[in-house]
């Protein structure tokens, strides 16, 4: 099986007085066939850093990113142009992408012009309307208005309309719905599902909100302190997490169902937070100080990701000595 994107031994250490290991030996792949992969973790776990590296906005300390087998740091200009067209970003608050002086649809017009997508004004108009409808926006809601006159949800979907025009192969979406209202989140997620199903567009969906990952399905990667703790099919991981950290995280989701309330009372337990990017003594399991199952060996060396279950539906990679 070929892969669309391969992230290999990625490491990002930020300097300064204390070194921050934002990303520490991360490996994953996004397959050739259209897929949604969710990258989840608490804030500071390294998600955005991984996104920036994949987009070529940040040069990693170590490791590499391959797109269709080619290292994205290649200097081949033709290849770079193709890469920038095929991999598109959608960020948390798209407001900064818009120039407030111009009408909102300019973000669409620029793309149509840049990629020569239309031969006439009328054709450009038709194309814009089609793109807006593809993301559940009525053209009359958006056309002719300025960015500040749109809601966060509308601006975010307009970004998807722009992406739609470009027909990328991969969308890197970093917390795209955390500023959108509850009522509109489902529509945004549905668009990503439609993109995959009808246009073969894959998404790397980055979020701290596990319930949206659950809705999207596909594959999930659980990050902690810049390392992958568990990886597998989203449905399997969510219903039966293996890594103690994934278990804690998933059992803490505030499920919007009063009949599925949190079971055990964690309030008297050890405080949850450990500063992000622990800077020294990383040659161990980074979850050790919080882990209810911690053993001596957990302090001695880093546990590596290993397959614990090979059945295709439930197959799982876990970085924990309980399984090796």
């Amino acid at each position: 099986m070929r892969d669309l994107l391969v992230v290999e031994n990625l490491q990002q250490v930020f300097g300064g007085k204390t070194r921050t290991y934002a990303v520490d030996g991360v490996n994953f792949r996004i397959p050739e066939e259209p897929a949604i992969v969710s990258l989840v973790g608490e804030s500071g776990s390294g998600k955005s850093t991984i996104a920036r590296i994949i987009l070529g906005l940040l040069q990693p300390t170590a490791g590499r990113v391959l797109y269709e087998g080619t290292d994205i740091s290649t200097r081949d200009r033709k290849w770079n142009r193709k890469f920038r067209g095929e991999v598109q970003a959608v960020f948390q608050d798209p407001y900064s992408v818009y120039n407030p002086v111009y009408k909102a649809e300019r973000v669409l017009k620029l793309v149509i012009r840049k990629f020569g997508l239309a031969k006439s004004k009328a054709e450009a108009q038709t194309l814009m309307e089609e793109a807006l409808r593809a993301v559940d926006l009525r053209p009359e809601e958006v056309l002719g208005r300025h960015p500040h006159q749109l809601s966060g949800g509308q601006r975010q979907r307009l970004m998807l309309a722009r992406v739609y025009l470009m027909r990328p192969r991969l969308i890197i979406a970093d917390e795209p719905i955390s500023m959108i209202d509850a009522g509109m989140r489902a529509s945004f997620l549905n668009i990503l599902l439609d993109f995959r199903e009808t246009h073969g567009i894959s998404t790397l969906f980055i979020t701290h909100d596990l319930s949206t990952a659950m809705y999207l399905g596909g594959e999930i990667i659980v990050l902690y302190q810049g390392r992958i703790m568990e990886r597998g099919q989203t449905r399997a991981v969510m219903s039966d997490p293996q890594h103690p950290y994934a278990q804690l995280l998933i059992s803490s989701i505030p499920t919007p169902d009063p009949r599925k309330r949190w079971q055990e009372d964690l309030s008297a337990g050890p405080l949850a937070e450990v500063g992000a990017g622990i800077s020294s003594g990383r040659d161990r399991c980074l979850f050790a100080e919080r882990c209810p199952a911690v053993m001596d060996r957990c302090w001695g060396a880093r546990p590596h990701l290993q397959a614990v279950d090979k059945a295709s539906e439930t197959s799982r990679d876990v970085a924990c000595y309980l399984y090796s």
């Binding site: 009522g183 529509s187 997620l189 549905n190 319930s211 809705y215 969510m238 803490s252 505030p254 949850a272």
Partner: protein, 327 residues
Amino acid sequence: MPALLEIRGLTAGLQGQRAVTEVVSQVDLDVQAGEILGVVGESGCGKSTLAAAIMRLLLPPQVLQSGSMTLRLKDGKTYELLDLPEADLRQLRWRRLSYIPQGSMNSLNPVLRIERQMTDTLIQHGLSREEALRRSIAALELVNLEPRLLDSYPHELSGGMRQRVIIAAAVSMRPALIVADELTTALDVVTQRQILQELAAIRDELGATILIITHDMGVVAQIADRVAVMYAGKIAELGTVNGIFESPLHPYSQGLIGSIPREGGHRVEGLPGEAPSPWNYPAGCRFHTRCPHVIDRCRAQVPALLPQGDGTWAACHLYEPEVLSNA
């Protein structure tokens, strides 16, 4: 039993150049002693304005327009909050009514140790230094923080710890009512769970009543006893948490609950359209521009919040007796 806090016709708005724009309109709400009441709604629907209005802490251009609020304490004392002079209110706040505004974990003074920040307010309320310190330590214990934390500066604490300090300060006088606005919004899920469980324990320990204001349906599902759903500055529906989640009556509550992304496999649809801002609240039922069940009278007549049995209240013409009997 009479409610701890009885809110009637509470209306608050924004003072503009020529007129006041209503933000929160005619809110009727009974907060029962000892309950955790969740107020939910999408951002901009007026939750924070309602919270500040309840505390009488609206800041210009926000203005309180009309209504009444009666606070009935266990010791038999009754206060008409809107008639109370500011000096008396100041006595009530903190001792009886405690407020944790949105974003307050970032409002700690960076150059003062936690001890000063916690005890100063108590000393201002007439406590001795020793008593203030004793109460601060007891309050920190309620949120599982050690007394030595009093020596820290805010930047030495994680977000969750700062939020706990804020909660401890808010409950140090053992208030009857705690109003918490987006208490855990900026926190990670594990910390959020711990803090919400601590809050529930505080309710049990102090016998306090908690009004928890959030945009997060998951938070109310986990800890609220009852839920008030707000839309465009009004209460659309009020009921038990199970009732709201399992058989919502108001079309807006139905849309909100129905649009929650759940486990993969089946799709849910988002609510179509946008919530209106106070400058263009529609006439009649404010939800009529997005409602799939709209009928003629919705465009002209404001539906009243009426009891529907089983402790549920809904503000929707569909549930008015004459509409029900024609159906």
